[in-house]
Amino acid sequence: MSSGNGKRGEPRVTIGRRDFFKVYASAGVAVLQGCRRRDQELIESPVRRSTALPGASVWRRSICEQCGAGCEIEVRTVDRLAKKIEGLPDGFVNAGGVCALGHSALQELYHPDRVTEPMRRGSSGELEPVSWEEALETAATAIAAAPDATTVVAGAPSGPLLGLWRRVAATVGAPPPVHWQPADGIVEREAARLAFGESTRPAYDLARSDYVVSVGAPFLDRWRSPVHFGAAWAELTADRRGKLVQVEARHSLTAANADEWLPVRPGSEGVLARGLAGLLMASGKFPEDARAAYEALYAEAPPDLAATAERCGIDAGRIERLAAELARARRPLVMAGGSAFEGESGVAAGAAALALNLLLGAVGRDGGVFAGIDFGFEDRLAGEAAAALPPAALADRLAGEGESGVLVVSEADPLHGVPGLEAAFERAGTVVVLSAFFDDTTSRADVVLPVQTDLERFQAVEPDPVRGVPALLIASPTVAPRGEARHPGDVALALAAAAGSALPWPGFQEAVESALSGAFAATRAAGGGASGPVALPASLVAGALNARQFVRRTTDAGGLVGTEEMRRAPAGPASGDADEAPGPIPDPASLPAPAAPVGVEAFTLIPFESLKLADGRGANRPWLQELPDPLSTVMWGSWVEVATADADRLGIRTGDIVRLTGTAAEIELPAIVLPTVRPGSIGVPVGGGHADYGRYARRRGVNVNALLDPDRRVAGAGAFARGDLRVRVERLRRPRRSERPVIYGRGLRQAEEIPVGWAPHDSGPAHAALPESGFVRRLGHPRRAAAAPTREEKA
């Protein structure tokens, strides 16, 4: 008999008939002798209408949609309840791994504060349960009355679901939806358009490189796919074959794991990239055509070493050594992302970093950078509908004093993400929110439509580009939906139908199948070989007789996955037609540096996504709230990272409550003093301080987004600029008991030095110096034994 944790990858129901009777006979006898009630339960069990035996594990394939990475997972279900998430060993993106956020999807599914029934704001001003029909009718009537004053905000990652929202918005006569997504992705597209002539997000072959310079991309933290890039990083650095250099102002988890961390001044990442280009070109080690391709992008010459060192705050010798190592590497690669993209000049900085790949010959080769291509299922579902708008478009649409019309927000929490939108939401005629939780936006809704979470719904996902191989992943629901929750795609279609503009599909699954069917027809029509813009690679449709068979095979197989041969280089700057060819890229070195600090207490604020809370969606899961942040070790709540030198100067100790004052708001939160913070900068995780979002997130920590200035934008990208923000820092007081940051106090009891032997940088063979050179200092969070509860607590 097999039960419990069997092998992954197949339903574990391998109990033989004879075993079955043996087990039940013996269990029945044992229980009969003991307790009657258990006996009754046992006899009931075998006649349950289920294909699985009671208590047996059934593993179901699913897709993690906690971020856009598209990790394929297996969910262990017992008695139709989801118990555990594991990575699918041959998962396209994740190859068996799952991150902390991915595991916690179970607590999203079974959260005690889920919205499980439709609600409508009644005459009392409170949200009251209503039927789906009533809720949809209220929403659809408002949309139909003023379609052009309807704003759709879609939080889904790019792919089929976003395509459907585009289609639905166009069908009901509303403007294109606002795609609520991190700034990073939009800026990345624009930077790639300038550097590579193609606005697809670049894919990186980290594992096969031997020298990686990551300009701001926190790929081991919470960027793109930490699981995929974690595995690739492990391959890169296995046996110390390759080196990772992290260029980032904040000491992120990626910086902590890098072989070398270059803590550049915030906002100077692009200058460093330009400075490196100057040194690389001067080295004379690169072919003339690579050099010419790079030089054609810029009107100016790169800054010299001294200017670069000055702007970046990095020792000139170090930059020179880095350039020399990069020039000598066999398969160097430059990645860009994260903080490099988040300042007002993020596009220029990102383009400067990406363009280095042209010089290094890294474009389109193993261990290099590829175009982030997909099968285009977003556009296939969108049909003729216009492209989605960037997040800043929401603020622009809602600007002014007039009524904001109808707002339809699906799986996004803009009120938590950006300050200054509350008034516009108040002015809106009707706010319709599709959400699984009462988050900050849902609590302002007039109509709440409960949606299914990852494991409850049909999934069709085009993963964010990580390998340069296109894929469409499809999965069926793993467990039954809770309450009356529906698929957001089904709700979108129902809204369109109720508003009088029905689309031909009853649900999202049918829409995806129709798109697959259309892709099959287009591919066959293209002559079985040529891959036109609407055709798939012929090899993917080869085995199917007709569209119906192709759709069935594709859904049964879990989607369409391309091959490594499909990887290709971006089009190249010269290949675009004249109208689209970008002009010279603005040189970050010639842009003005961010304003100098005013007085000692002006700091550059670096908001970052922690691996715990991500953009805030993780805040409602107790596993993640109680997970110690790996660098600060803080659990539950928010914190601000302060440099040791700054803390000494301002008299701040770990735990002290400090006030951060921005242009429009101020927040108070506990300080964590760390030796790894760049003096003059502070880091605060985003995702805390929800007004609602369930019992574990409500008013837990503070929302650093309150300090953002919604009028600051990343030039040329339509995204809010989160980087290079100036704030004042002042110490307020020692924390009261309830304000103390929850620091994970456990550590080794007897050792301040442990034999972790690593040789100092550049000193001899990697394994030679063990373990004598091992000296590790524990940072001084005092070790505390758990305090026994007081009598009151026990009571």
Binding site: G6, K7, A231, E626, P675, T676, R678, Q750, A786
Partner: protein, 233 residues
Amino acid sequence: MTRWGMAIDLDRCTGCEACVVACAAENNIQTVGEEQAREGRAMHWLRIERYYEGEFPNVRTRFMPVLCQQCGAAPCEPVCPVYATYRNPEGLNAMVYSRCIGTRFCANNCPYTVRVFNWFDAEFPAPLDSQLNPDVSVRPGGVMEKCTFCVQRIQAGKDEAAQEEREVADGEIKTACQQSCPTKAIAFGDLEDPDSEVSRWAESPRAFSLLGDLDTRPGVVYLSGTEWREPAE
């Protein structure tokens, strides 16, 4: 005879903590809430220790997952007045929850600080309890607990092998932390089998035992971190 053991490559550990959440999900570890966590009562069976070396800007960071070391000469065992913790024949430092009376002597004697105590009964507000693993008991208040090397998975793996009348193959049984690790930094298996992956890792010149001079003979072996150096031209 089998001796279950684990090897952890610190060169591969990024400190991403996927293992910590995987462990909580697999083993029904309760979360205690902000107030209790502030008092140091968090219940993790596995933690990521973080070490710094040097000062800004030449500061280096290392991570080390620390869990029950399943010691061969466990300091926690002889101090238990009711024999609730003992060494099983396969090298696991096992806990009998129903026998534990909560003296906490074992936690006091553990040099690795990996034992945690249930100060209160676990709470899993419905329907969060739907997620609980039916193979693992939820521990009541007043009981000590710690990493079991996912003994329920070991048992399931052995049952399956016995059913098919064969030996347990190397790599067949995976602990929850090992299985979710994106960088594959953890190996688990039989240390008595010289060909097992964990034995091969344990033979590495980088291998060391945590607090090795205490001679607790841990079943967990670490492979120390190393530095990149430029390959010769």
